[in-house]
């Protein structure tokens, strides 16, 4: 491996000393400390920073989309200067709307929902929680971030090229995404950049997953048996396994797509296509091949986005319920079950893609079965707060909000999992509502919960609780106002990915679209409170103690923020699982993993 492996420990002392020289030492220069850092904590913050930039971009795009949907004829000030071709005179062209939609989906799914809860918090907290000094391969870890950043820059570059950004959606269905310029504006260079960006992203996340898995397996501190792993770590571990497989499939898929676009191959492009009055010089390709490869990644990706949220909630909720998580083993079993099942359901995205109806039925059953572990996890949270002593910190509120929106989003899965209902709801706003609730909003709530929970550990200061609570309540109302009505639009037959509703029966819903637009603008604006809170608390927030939430896991055993090597060279020993809340002990009503067993217990 091109990285520094830790040496086997059954070796003579002097060689061990030699090897330890090769280990990374606290960096001195600013560049090594904050930019090209190998410290998992800095890398985690870098990932979170990237996600923050990405989520702002994605939210801005959704604002523009909603504005256009609610008020199609209104010229958006300044837009014509941003994109003279995309919005001549300020009113956006249909293809520009689709480009915004494509970029919104891609940025949110890949660069927010994957980077923040998984790569971001995982990088920051996982080594701390297992009691390691750092990730197993710090330099590969650094590479992982910089490749991901490059992927983001490549994607955003598509906004600034003459062709304009791609418009074939985050699923980039072939042949629209594969035939190139003839397919219309945005399908030239922009789509190629998209494919390159996603390929890079896969590489970055594979390197990340490699680190997560190895660190969890090999670098656990003394006494940290797998049974004592914190639930967030479990979630990150299982997520990395899912990601390892999923991204390993998306990567070649993107390579094939790039080859079809620039290499003249015909993997996804069948014969006899006439586009822009030109017979395309391709033959024999299969558009369904892309769909299979993409969704084999695509559905597990949904769980890559949400499972870290599960873990974060299951770890934070007990801390603020002052009560152990109900059925921790069941919880982990459910995560594993979901992880496994997520690879058996991809076909439910293709019920209507001319796939053999029999296999459609085969895909529908596991899709419905996967709701069982999901339901159980939710019940575990509800059961956990039964008889608890809830402390309504902002982090706790976002956990409870997570449970609520996850239920709302999960329920609609019952409908879409059935081919016979998917016939009616596929490709409508019902689907948009479903996945925004279940993976968009829920995952975002997980991210918020994690931010309010780990911020003290990251920066040594507490976030402002008042601002936090206002932020939560308004966001909670906002997201329901945005996404609940989308179910109704879908039931009524409003088709997603339309830049305007010119059809007679869809025109009737424009008032509802206006309402959603207003709600979206409101909810977006509310996030300013969060940004203000972040910046204010970073510099002016009250100093945080080592363990402000009285939590049990190892990251709270060290200082806030932790030193470069996390535990000052003395990693803690683990005496028990992470679930000891509400049990009287010398520490109070909880027993941290890192305090010795009190006498007489």
């Amino acid at each position: 491996m091109p990285d520094t492996p830790r040496p086997p420990l059954t070796q003579p002392r002097e060689t061990a000393a030699k090897v330890s020289e090769l280990k990374h030492v606290p960096p001195q220069t600013f560049m090594r400390k904050y930019v090209f850092s190998v410290d998992h904590k800095v890398i985690g913050k870098q990932y979170l920073g990237l996600a923050l930039v990405a989520v702002c971009t994605g939210m801005l795009l959704s604002w523009l989309m909603r504005l256009h949907l609610g008020y199609p004829e209104v010229a958006i000030p300044g837009l014509s200067t941003v994109s003279p071709n995309g919005a001549p005179g300020g009113v956006m062209t249909p293809e520009y709307y689709l480009s915004l939609m494509t970029m919104h989906g891609t940025i949110m799914v890949f660069f927010v929902l994957t980077t923040a809860p998984f790569a971001g918090f995982g990088n920051f907290a996982l080594p701390l929680q297992v009691g390691a000094e750092d990730m197993a391969f710090p330099r590969i870890n650094m590479m992982s971030f910089w490749v991901t950043l490059a992927a983001f820059l490549v994607l955003v570059a598509a906004f600034f090229i003459p062709d304009g950004p791609p418009l074939s959606g985050w699923t980039a269905y072939a042949p629209l995404s594969a035939v190139g310029k003839d397919a219309g504006p945005g399908q030239g260079m922009g789509q190629t950049l998209w494919a390159i960006s996603i390929a890079l992203f896969c590489v970055g996340q594979l390197l990340g997953a490699l680190n997560f898995i190895t660190t969890t397996l090999d670098l656990r501190t003394k006494g940290m048996s797998l049974g004592r792993l914190p639930y967030a770590t479990w979630a990150w571990f299982i997520t990395s396994v899912i990601g390892l497989i999923a991204f390993s499939v998306l990567l070649p898929a993107c390579i094939l797509l790039i080859l079809d676009r620039v290499g003249g191959t015909s993997f996804f492009i069948p014969a006899g296509l006439v586009i822009s009055d030109r017979l395309q010089p391709h033959s024999g390709g299969s558009p369904l091949l892309w769909q299979h490869l993409f969704w084999f990644f695509g559905h597990p990706e949904v769980y890559i986005a949400i499972l870290p949220g599960f873990g974060i909630i299951s770890q934070i909720l007990p801390a603020f319920a002052r009560k152990p998580l109900l059925g921790p083993r069941v919880f982990i079993a459910c995560l594993a079950a979901i992880g496994f099942l997520s690879y058996t359901v991809w076909g439910h995205h293709m019920f209507l893609s001319g796939m053999n109806p029999f296999s459609a039925t085969l895909f529908s059953v596991p899709t419905l079965i996967i709701t069982i572990p999901a339901t159980i996890v939710t019940l575990l949270w509800i059961g956990t707060i039964y008889g608890a002593k809830l402390r309504f910190t902002t982090a706790a509120l976002f956990c409870l909000g997570f449970a609520s929106v996850f239920v709302s989003g999960g329920i609609s899965g019952f409908f879409l999992a059935q081919p016979s209902i998917d016939v009616q709801l596929h490709g409508t706003y019902f689907v948009v509502a479903h996945f925004h609730f279940v993976m968009g909003v829920a995952a975002m709530f997980g991210i918020f919960a994690g931010t309010y929970y780990w911020f003290p550990k990251m920066f040594g200061r507490l976030m402002n609780e008042t601002l936090g609570k206002v932020h939560f309540i308004l966001t909670f109302i906002g997201v329901y106002c945005i996404f609940m009505p989308m179910h109704w639009l879908g039931l009524h037959g409003d088709v997603r990915r339309y830049s305007a509703f010119t059809d007679e029966y869809m025109k009737g819903d424009i008032p509802l679209h206006k309402f959603i637009t207003v709600a979206a603008l409101f909810t977006g604006a509310v996030q300013l409170i969060f940004f203000v809170n972040l910046i204010y608390s970073r510099f002016k927030g009250p100093k945080a103690t080592d363990n402000p939430w009285q939590s049990t896991t190892l990251e709270w055993a060290t200082t806030s923020p932790p030193p470069f090597d996390n535990f000052g060279g003395h990693p803690p020993t683990v005496y028990r699982g992470p679930n000891e809340y509400g049990t009287p002990s010398p520490s109070g009503d909880y027993a941290p993993q890192f305090t010795p067993e009190p006498a007489g217990r």
Partner: protein, 191 residues
């Protein structure tokens, strides 16, 4: 060097890491193989062609390299005074490296042979998948070459202590050999 680690059986993250990488890379090649089978079934435009014979020579080279790598490891393991035999270990490593580079050169020759037959990436699905598979494997093998160069450097520097690094590199290298044989098998069946 943490006491916690010392307490447990010695863990070699590099080795675990390679195993994880093996899983990922196998998955990637499985996906391409699946794509190839699906694509072959999708349309009647699959025209067969004979694989360039040099591929078999390359395969032998690669298998040899795995052997020499094992020899290097054996030298390293039975080195009592690090310096003495560590040298010959690094010679075996250098030989392995040479074979690996010869393999890659041979693959390029195979490409040339195909090109002279007028078979290019865009000619047809069969040739496309041939170039794709060989290129993918070549890139991953280059990673192995880098790992070997690194291991060589480590062996020269710290002697037997490099066993961990070398073991990991060897694991990866042997995987590359097996992977290539699987790819070759698949290509001979399909093309």
């Amino acid at each position: 060097m943490t006491p916690a680690l010392a307490a447990r059986a010695p863990a070699v993250p590099a080795r675990t890491g390679v195993w994880v990488a093996v899983l990922a890379i196998s998955m990637t090649f499985a996906a391409v193989a699946a794509a190839m089978i699906g694509r072959a079934g999708a349309a009647p435009d699959w025209q067969q062609f004979r694989l360039p014979p040099i591929l078999y020579v390359n395969s032998v080279l690669l298998m040899l390299s795995s052997g020499t790598l094992e020899a290097a490891r054996a030298r390293l393991k039975h080195a009592t005074p690090a310096r003495a035999i560590g040298g010959s270990a690094s010679q075996w490593l250098a030989l392995t490296l040479g074979l690996g580079i010869m393999f890659i050169a041979g693959q390029l020759l195979a490409w040339h042979a195909l090109a002279t037959l007028g078979l290019f990436l865009s000619t047809g699905p069969a040739s496309a998948f041939f170039y794709l598979f060989t290129a993918l494997h070549g890139v991953h093998l280059l990673g192995g070459v880098i790992a070997l160069v690194y291991a060589l450097h480590r062996v020269r520097q710290v002697g037997p202590a490099a066993a961990g690094a070398l073991g990991a590199a060897a694991l990866y290298w042997h995987f590359m050999t097996c992977l290539w044989l699987c790819v070759l098998l698949l290509l001979t069946i399909r093309l």
